[in-house]
Structure formats: C-alpha cells, structure tokens
C-alpha cells in the first residue's frame, strides 16, 4: 500500500528535477547543462515508478479513493474545526488519478527521452550559450509536475491552482522560441483563451462556495472533490447546474473544445515534443479529466450532460473538417486532437467516464506517437509543410511504420488501440435510451456525429501519411521559399536519414502501446490480471456492451475514409485543382477554420475591443475624467486672474470696495432685521 509521502513525491520529483535544472544546472554553463536532460528524465522515471505503485495500490478500489486526509493551506478567521473558512490541499488517489498519473509520467518520460535528441540543436545554438537546453527540460519537468498536481488534487481550488500552472508552463513551452513572433503570439493566445475558460472555472468555485451551506449541513467542504462527488446527487439543481457548467467552461478552454478551440492549432509553434506532450496526456486531457473528476456533479444535471455531449460531438466533427484541408502536418494532428477530445466529451456526456478515460488513455499513446513521428519527419526535412514532403518512407522506414500504426490506431481500425475505445464511445452513446426519463435525443445526435467524424479521421490521417511518406520527395525545407520560412529556419537543410536512436526508441515504445493499449488494458474479456472492461470496472460503472453492428459500421466508415484518401492523394484518381468553384470556396472556409480566428481576433478583439471599448475608455479617461480634473485646475488657476481684474491699482477703486463692503454688510443686516 502506497503512503501519502510517496504520492506527493509523484508531483514532487519532477518539481525537484525542474528546480535542480533551473537553479543547479542552468547557471553553470560549461559542464553541467548536459546533465539537465538526464535529471529531468530520471525524475520522471521516479515519478513513473511511483505512479505505477500508486496504480497498483488502487487496483482493488472501485471508484473509491485511498483515504489521505487533506491539509490546511489557507485559513481565515480562526479555527477551521469551528467552521472557519479553510482551503485544504491534499492528494486524492483513486483509479482515475492513478491512471492519469501513470499516463502523464510515462508519456512525459518518453517525450523527454525523445527530446534528448530532438532538442539537441538548442544546446549548441547561440554560440556557446546553452541556456535553452536546460530551460527546456526544466519547463518540461515543471509542466509535468503541474499536470500531476492537477491530477492528484484533493480540493477543487488545488485543482485550479495546478490547472493554472499547467496553463503557465504550456505558455512557456509554446513560447519556448520566444524570439519567434508567431511563437510568442501563440503562447499568449493559448494562455488567454484557456483563461477565458478558467474564468468559468473560477465562477464555478465562487458558486460552490456561495452555496457552502448546502455542504456544511452535511459536514462537508464545498471544495473537496470527494465531498462534492458524494454530495452531488443531493444538492439543489441550481447549484449543480451552474457549478457544472462553470467547470465545463474551464474544461472547454483547456481541452480546446468549441468555441474555445482556436488556440490549439497555433500552439504548434512550440517545439514538437511539447506539442506531443500537451496533446497526448497532459494539458488538453486536463479538461476531460476535470469532468471525469467531478463526474457525479455533471451526472446530477442532465442538461449539463447534454451540453457536454453536444459540445463534444460538434467539436469532433468541426475539428475533423478543419483537419481535412490543412497542409501543416502538426496542425492536422492538432485538429485531430481537438476532434478526439470531442469524442471523449461525447463519452462523458453520455455518462461513460470510464470510456472517456479509456479513450484518453489510448489517445495518449497514438497521438503522442504521431507527433513524435512528425517531429522525426521535421528532423529530416526541417519543415512541417506537407506540400514539401513526400516519399520519406525511402529513408525513414521506422518513422513510416510507426506512423502507419498510430494512424490506424487513430482511425479506429481493428485491432489497434483506437478501435476499442472509439467503439465503446459509440456503443455508450447508442446505449442511452432516448425514451428514458431525463434523457433526450442528444445521445443519438452525437452518435451520428461521432460516426461521421470517424470517417473523416481516417481520411485525413491517411491523407497525412500519403502526402508525407509516399510519392515523390518535394524538396523539404530546401524547396520552401525564403519568404515563407521563419528566420530560425533560414539556413537549415534537408538531412536524408532516420532520426537518432534517442528519438526512435521512445517512438517504438509508444508504437507498441498504440497497438496493444486498447486490447490489453480494457479487453472485452478478462485478460490475466486485467479484468474485463477494466476502466469501466475501475469507475464502477456499467460497461457498454460491444455491439457488433456498431463495430462493423465504424470499421466500414474508417476504411471508407482510408480508401478515399488513397484514391485522392495516393492514386490521384481525382484532380483536386479541377474541382468546381464551390469546392474551392469550401476548401478556403476549412483552411480558414470557419473564420473563427478572424471572428475572434479581428472582429472581436481588434475592432470591437481594441478600437472600440478600450479606445472609448481611454478617450473617456483622458478627455472626460482627467479633463474634468484639468478643467477644475484651469479654473482655479484662472479664477484668480479674473478676480484680480478688480485690483486696478487705483486707490479709489479700493475705497469703493470698502464702501461696497460696508453697504453689503448693512444691507445684509437690514434684510435680516
């Protein structure tokens, strides 16, 4: 049985690693910086081991947590035992957090190993200044630590704390190459857009707190997750609905769901391992995790559940369509992530958090692998633009093979990992009885949305594979016109060869997982130590039955997408340039991501806010508010001059003044008498 200190150490080890790197290694440039990568990986390996131990400890639990009591963090007004305000921190170890911890530490560790090779160039850039290499590993460690803190948080406020820290370190990682304007802008965008979601999170916290009486009467704390979960079915509807909606807003922001999905494609400006980590198990998964974390709260309100499911469904399709027309390999993957996260929300929305987590679990591996493959490709061709790739399988066989595997997994092709979880999601959605009380047609709608998205997923992932690895090589970075390159890439050249072992090795590990994670860990039957439908089992929920026709249908759709992709991009059966005008228009809409960025950035931020509200406020402040102050000052300064006009210098005028004074005084008294 794991003890509490060890659980804390899951968060603490990466944190410590980061601190050692930033404070111990980074300042001493010459000899020690090389160690930073190993320190980061070592710390993560320790955390991974501890996570496995933790997972092992909760294996027998079904939805219950290991009872570590929380500790006092902030108190206001005396003794908490007498009802004073208190914020606690603690670790909440249950199957959900244990699985997440394992995934996070594992993926992070692999990504860091990969980074040893990938980020090598950061080490010898800038003429002997090796500042960026250790900075990178420090950020990675901190980022993972923040994510782990979020995962293990006992208290919603604590969740929020780490939630924000995840945002911070994603900001720093996305903007790692801060000298690139696009990276700096993307980092800022990621932070601000997610913060809009966090605003909802914060409101939810306030809302919960303002209804603390409902908890207090039960002797519970409105912020502590176990209390919330156990009290959720008994709480008043208004409390539950708004609190869940607020939390969901936070999840939407972090998980880049519609309508806060715009930050994620831009976030590809970060180093590729970062994208991989962010997209696989950490930041974007946080939203899904949060909803799963307080799932009883969501479950208590059917309308919120519908919102969740619909958001997921819409996002799954929307993002998939965006991916269809994108030529940047990482952005295709980014849209894919958004789309897959939509699946997870569908699962949550139809009441199957275990399934959602299962998909998250699988997705972590194959999506991570896809990104690492993209990084590997970039390592060779130095660009992410698929228009300049092609034929790479010639000198990157391993990368090619792994991409195929992960692509199939993503497409949900039997028996790869993705198939199992996607199928369970579809099944779970189908399983909702639309005629039962408290449900609606939403589950049906999202089922069909998910199915459509599945087809598109298969199509775009194979479009990606074909454009990258098949056909003629189109020149890589050397073919990119200079004015399209970012300055950093100005002098890079194509390097034809497989990536180094440090990169390939972690990809291989992930490749294995991308194949087996679905079948091995959530098998339809009991599989050695793993029970059948292990995830659902852990969550103590009904496991959806595998419905044969759904499995067949989804397979058909997926294969259809693959075939279509091969037909169009591989066999060139359709000449895209000779498509009708409407097709090009549609293409542009997709390329512009339905003009969402235009709407947000140009119309809302630049026009309505910056040139509207902000300008008006500034004008108001300078001209009206300060203007009034200055006017009063001006009057004061000049009133003297006006009054001084009476001071003519003529002594007799002064005498008149005296007389007038006498008369006025007399008059005043005569009036009074």
């Amino acid at each position: 049985m794991i003890n509490e200190a060890a659980v804390w150490a899951i968060v603490g080890l990466p944190l410590l690693g980061g601190l050692i790197i930033i404070a111990g290694l980074r300042p001493w440039t010459q000899s020690l910086w090389r160690l930073s990568g190993y320190v980061g990986i070592g710390a993560m390996a320790g955390a991974f081991a501890l996570s496995l131990w933790a997972l092992n400890s909760v294996r027998g639990h079904h939805g219950e947590s290991v009872g570590f009591d929380p500790h006092s963090w902030v108190t206001v007004g005396g003794d908490a035992a007498e009802g004073a305000f208190e914020l606690t921190i603690g670790v909440l170890l249950d199957p959900l957090s244990a699985i997440m911890a394992v995934v996070v530490t594992g993926v992070s560790m692999l990504v860091q190993v990969y980074s040893l090779g990938y980020m090598r160039k950061e080490a010898d850039e800038h003429s002997g200044k090796f500042v960026d290499y250790p900075r990178y590993f420090a950020y990675m460690s901190f980022f993972t630590a923040a994510m782990l803190g979020l995962v293990l948080a006992y208290n919603l406020v604590q969740t929020f704390v780490f939630w924000e820290l995840v945002g911070l370190f994603s900001y720093l990682l996305i903007g790692f190459w801060f000298h690139r304007p696009a990276a700096a802008a993307a980092a800022k965008k990621a932070f601000i857009v997610t913060r809009i979601g966090d605003f909802g999170f914060m409101l939810a916290l306030m809302w919960l707190f303002s209804h603390r009486d409902e908890f207090l009467v039960r002797g519970q704390n409105p912020f502590e997750i176990p209390d919330i979960n156990s009290a959720a079915p008994l709480l008043s509807a208004g409390l539950v609905t708004w609190a869940a909606l607020g939390l969901f807003a936070g999840a939407v922001g972090k998980s880049a769901q519609f309508p806060l999905n715009t930050w994620l494609p831009d976030a590809m400006e970060g180093p590729t391992p970062v994208s991989s980590l962010i997209h696989a198990a950490t930041m974007v998964a946080a939203g899904v995790f949060l909803v799963a974390r307080v799932f009883p709260l969501f479950e208590a309100s059917s309308s919120v559940m519908n919102v969740v499911a619909l958001t997921g469904g819409v996002t799954a399709v929307l993002a998939a369509t965006m991916a269809l027309a994108t030529t940047d390999i990482k952005r295709v993957l980014a849209f894919s992530t958004v789309s897959q996260l939509g699946y997870m929300f569908i699962a949550l929305g139809v009441g199957a958090p275990g399934v959602a987590l299962f998909h998250l679990f699988n997705h972590a591996f194959f999506k991570c692998l896809l990104f690492l493959s993209a990084g590997s490709v970039h390592h060779s061709v130095q660009t992410f633009d698929m228009r300049y790739m092609g034929g790479l399988r010639a000198w990157m066989p391993v990368t090619y093979g792994l991409t195929i595997i992960s692509g199939l997994s993503l497409a949900g092709v039997f028996p790869f990992a993705g198939f199992w979880s996607k199928d369970e999601i579809l099944a779970a959605a189908w399983a909702v009885d639309p005629s039962a009380p408290g449900t609606s047609a939403v589950a049906q709608i999202v089922f069909w949305l998910a199915l459509i998205a599945a087809g598109m997923t298969a199509f775009y992932v194979f479009r990606l594979i074909i454009m990258t690895f098949h056909g003629e090589f189109r020149g890589g970075i050397d073919a990119v016109p200079m004015d399209e390159r970012i300055p950093d890439e100005a002098h890079n050249h194509v390097h034809k060869g497989e990536s180094p072992t440090s990169m390939v090795a972690p990809m291989l590990v992930l490749g294995v997982m991308a194949v087996i994670s679905g079948a091995a860990f959530n098998s339809v039957t009991k599989l050695g130590p793993v029970p059948a439908h292990w995830f659902s089992h852990l969550f103590n929920e009904d496991s959806p039955e595998l419905v044969a026709w759904i499995a067949v249908a989804s397979m058909t759709v997926a294969l259809g997408g693959i075939v279509l992709a091969i037909a169009i991009y591989g066999l060139k059966l359709v000449d895209l340039s000779r498509m009708p005008k409407q097709w090009h228009a549609l293409n542009r809409v997709l390329e512009q991501r339905y003009y969402m960025d235009y709407f947000y950035e140009t119309l809302v931020v630049r026009r309505a806010l910056f040139r509207g509200v902000f300008l008006a406020s500034d004008w108001l402040d300078r001209k009206v508010v300060d203007g009034t102050v200055d006017f009063v000052g001006w009057t004061g300064r000049n009133a003297g001059k006006w009054v001084a006009q009476l001071q003519t210098g003529q002594v007799q005028a002064y005498g008149v003044g005296v007389s007038v004074g006498v008369i006025l005084l007399l008059w005043a008294y005569l009036v009074r008498s």
């Binding site: 108190t75 007004g77 004073a84 980092a187 102050v629």
Partner: protein
C-alpha cells in the same frame, strides 16, 4: 519603543544621509544600512506580533496635545503589522533600485527615507490626528522626489499628486474633527482603538457625511474610479523608486484607511454604502483594465493596472454589504491580502520597468521588443511580476484575489463575476505587453544593453521572495490579517467567521 524606532529610524538616517552623504557611494551606503535595519525591525515586529493574543500590541501612548486629547499613540494589530512589514520590504527595494542615482544623491535618499518613515507612521498611528499628520507628511517627500528626480511632465504630475491627495485629506481632516467634537464632552478622543465599536449616531452632521469625508480621502489614495487620474501621471513621471513606493505602499494607505476607519469605525454606513462601493469597484477593475490595453508607456500601463487591481480591494471591502455575512470576513481578509500582495507585485513590476528604462531610456512599448535575449534576468523578473499580477496560483496575487472573489460572490454575484473577468483582461494586457516588450526577434538597437547587475537582482529578489512565500504558504499572512479583521467584523455584528 519598537514602533517608535521603526518610525524614526529612517528619519534619523535621513538626517545622516543629508549630512554625511557627500558622495554617491556614501549616501547610498547609509541609506542601504538604514533600510536593511528597518526591514529587520519590521520583520521583528511581524514575527513578534502574537496572533494568539491578538489585539493591539507594542502600544506606545503619550500625550501630545493634551488640550484636544491628541496623543502620540502607536500600536499595531493584525491589520497593520503586515503593512509595516510591506513598507519595510519596499523601502529596501526602493533603495536598491535607485542605486544609480547620481543627481544630488544625499537629498534623494533623504527624501526616500522620510517617505518611508511617513508611511510607516500612517500604518502604526492609532490616533486619528497623528495618523493624519503622517498622512500629510508623506506629501512633501513625494512632491520633491517626483518633481526633482522625475522625468517628463514631472512638475505637472507632482503638483497634481499633491493637490489631489491634499484635497482628499482635507475632507478627512474635517471628518476627524467633526467626529471628535460630536462626542460628548469628557469622552472626546481621537484614539482609534477607543472609537472602535462606539455608536456613531447623533454626530454634529449626519454620520454619512463624516463617513464620506474619510471615504473621499481614501478613495483618492486607493485610487478609486473616478478619482484616479493623478495616478498614471504620478507614476509615469516619478523616478523608479518612487513608483515602487507609490504603488507599493502609498496606495495601500487608502485601502488600509478604508478598512481601519471606514469599515472599522462606521460599520453601519459601510453596510449601506457597500453596494455603491461594489459598483465603483467593478468599474475600477474593468475600466482600468480597458485603459491599460491602450497604453503604450510601460509605467502608465502598470499604473492603470494598479487602478484595476485596487478595484479588487474595494470589492473585497464591499463584501460587508447588507450587514455582511460570516463570509464577509473572507472578503475583508482578501482585501487586506490584496493590499499586501499588490504592494509587492506592482512594486516588482515597477522595479523591472525601471530597470528596462534605465537601460533603454524609453518606456514606449512599440520601441521595445525581444529584450528577453539581451536581458534574460530582467525578463524573468518581469514575467514573475506579470504572472503574479494576473493572479497566477502559487503567487500571492492569486490567494488575495481568490479570497476576495469567494468572500464577495455571495453578496454581489454579478459584480464579482464581472470583476473576476478583470483577471482574464489582466492576462490579456500582461501577456500582450510581455510579448511586445520581451519577446519577438531581438532588436539590434538594444544589443548593447546589459542584463541586471547583482544589485538589481537583489532589488527584484526582495520582492519576489514575499510573492512566492505568501503565494505558497498564505497562512503566514492570513492568520495575521484575520486577527486584525475580526474586530472589524465584530463591528458588523459578526463574530469573525464562525458566527
């Protein structure tokens, strides 16, 4: 004698600096010793303050002008002892950040020390008139510091600051005297401790007017919309250290006054006025944030962000509306926390901006860019300050804002929600500024610029440490503040939180 020592040590040092500080080195050395000693003393006071015993401690009471029962009465309670510490911290930062002042250094440090002493006096005075004396005394060094060592339209700004504050305090003085003479003969006193909890009805004028007199003074100082326009000007044209002190402690005097006097002495009026206060707070928060977005001068930007952030203080205080509930205690504590945290955070922001300005000789944001390459340490300082300013958890800013929101939401749901949106806006302007100043391609024009020297790093660290200490372990402050807030809560008929 601890408090007297704390108040008068800088004054003695000021005299010494003026007399002995013939050279820059000598002057700054004396000043440094003084502020380090001052920080040590304030830390000692903070540590020695017994939170279990609570109440007013280190009381020093002497008759000053016995004809009007005006006393030299110093004491600290849980509310003021952190403010004293804050002043000690910022005093050190201010001296460190003005390490390079070459023009008449002895006079400069003299005024800086006098300023610190005056602010210290405000925080430890428990006699209204003594409070007022220190309140006014602070104007003189500020005026000279801004107008002699400032930049830009410094004379205008110094005068605006002076007149504006003076105007506000004019109302405060009248209110104090009215209060005094309203009490029956024999019970007349300026002793804040004795006035706490007294029935404030039946004054010479409607009690609301007395309340308003204090409120105006504190609203100007805080500053509260629409009385804030002196702040951007004063900040912009003040030398760095003065901006640090201004943002760090002078504004806090307003919030401190609101808590100590408006909320402490006039709970009934505060109860009635809180709704208006909440509206003002929301306007301050959002309007301030809107304006920040349009600023192109780094200091003006930080100044308006102060307006926005001090709106949170107002909001927290407004949580006592309608007599408050037990949760108002959280709001008031949050307001007090915000005073402290904003002091360190905005102080740090001004330190960083000052360092940039000292090197680049411009604060015009469009001229800057890519500075993280040339001055990474300063960039780190900027980011820490900025992130703390936008309320990132683990920094002190988060705790304060969280407490304010939690405390106020149950009274003013909409207002608090709107104000909380200010946090999103804060992320917007802070990160946008960081992007335009620190990030982006390196600008060749700034290639010659050096990074922070050890003394600059020290100045930043002095402020960074409390930001993180409080952010990670807020109890260090909340436990103290709570002791100070409880008596105020009692004035609202609420026995702390548990009731």
């Amino acid at each position: 004698m601890l408090l007297s020592t704390i108040v008068f040590l800088p004054i003695v040092a000021a005299v010494l600096v003026l007399a002995l500080g013939r050279t820059q080195q000598m002057a700054r050395l004396i000043a440094l010793i003084a502020v380090v000693g001052e920080l040590a003393l304030t830390l000692m006071a903070f540590a020695a303050y017994d939170t279990d015993a609570g109440g007013y401690q280190f009381v020093e009471r002497f008759d000053w002008i016995s004809a009007f029962d005006i006393q030299y009465l110093l004491a600290v309670d849980g509310l003021s002892v952190p403010m004293v510490l804050l002043n000690g911290i910022l005093g050190l930062a201010a001296v460190l950040v003005s390490w390079n002042v070459k023009e008449r250094p002895n006079q400069y440090y003299m005024w800086l020390l006098v300023l610190q002493a005056a602010v210290m006096g405000v925080f430890v005075s428990m006699d209204l008139i003594l409070f007022f004396v220190f309140w006014e005394l602070e104007l003189v060094p500020m005026f000279f510091l801004i107008s002699l060592w400032g930049t830009g339209r410094r004379e205008y700004s110094a005068m605006k600051f002076l007149i504006y504050t003076f105007l506000g305090s004019a109302f405060m003085l009248t209110a104090m005297l009215t209060l005094y003479f309203s009490l029956p003969d024999g019970e007349r006193t300026f002793d804040i401790m004795a006035l706490m909890g007294r029935d404030m009805s039946g004054l010479l004028v409607p009690t609301g007017l007395v309340f308003a007199g204090f409120l105006i003074a504190f609203a100007v100082k805080l500053p509260m919309f629409p009385l804030h326009t002196w702040l951007p000007d004063a900040h912009t044209d003040a030398p760095t250290a003065v901006s640090v002190m201004l943002a760090g402690v002078l504004l806090k005097m307003g919030g401190y006054g609101l808590l100590r006097i408006n909320a402490g002495l006039f709970p009934e009026q505060m109860t009635d006025f809180a709704s208006t206060l909440a509206v003002i707070a929301v306007v301050s928060v959002l309007y301030g944030a809107f304006i920040v977005m349009r600023q192109t001068d780094l200091k003006r930007m930080v100044a308006y962000s102060s307006v926005s952030h001090m709106g949170f203080v107002t909001l927290g205080i407004a949580s006592v509306a309608g007599g408050g509930s037990a949760l108002s205690s959280v709001g008031l504590n949050g307001a007090a926390m915000q005073l402290f945290t904003h002091g360190t955070i905005t102080g740090l922001l001004f330190v960083v901006v000052g360092l940039i300005y000292e090197r680049a000789h411009t604060r015009h944001i469009p001229d800057l860019g890519g500075l993280a390459k040339q001055m990474p340490l300063i960039a780190v300082g900027f980011m820490i300050a900025g992130l703390a300013s936008l309320g990132l958890p683990t920094t002190s800013g988060f705790v304060a804002e969280l407490l304010i929101f939690l405390g106020t939401f149950q009274v003013f749901g909409l207002a608090t929600a709107l104000a909380a949106f200010g946090v999103v806006l804060a992320a917007g302007y802070i990160l946008w500024t960081a992007q335009r100043t620190l990030f982006g391609p390196r600008v060749a024009r700034w290639d010659g610029l050096t990074d922070a020297r050890p003394v600059d790093v020290a100045a930043m660290l002095v402020l960074i440490i409390p930001i993180f200490v409080v952010g990670l372990y807020p109890k260090v402050l909340t436990d103290v503040f709570a002791v100070g807030i409880d008596p105020i809560m009692a004035g609202f008929g609420l026995a702390g939180f548990g009731g």
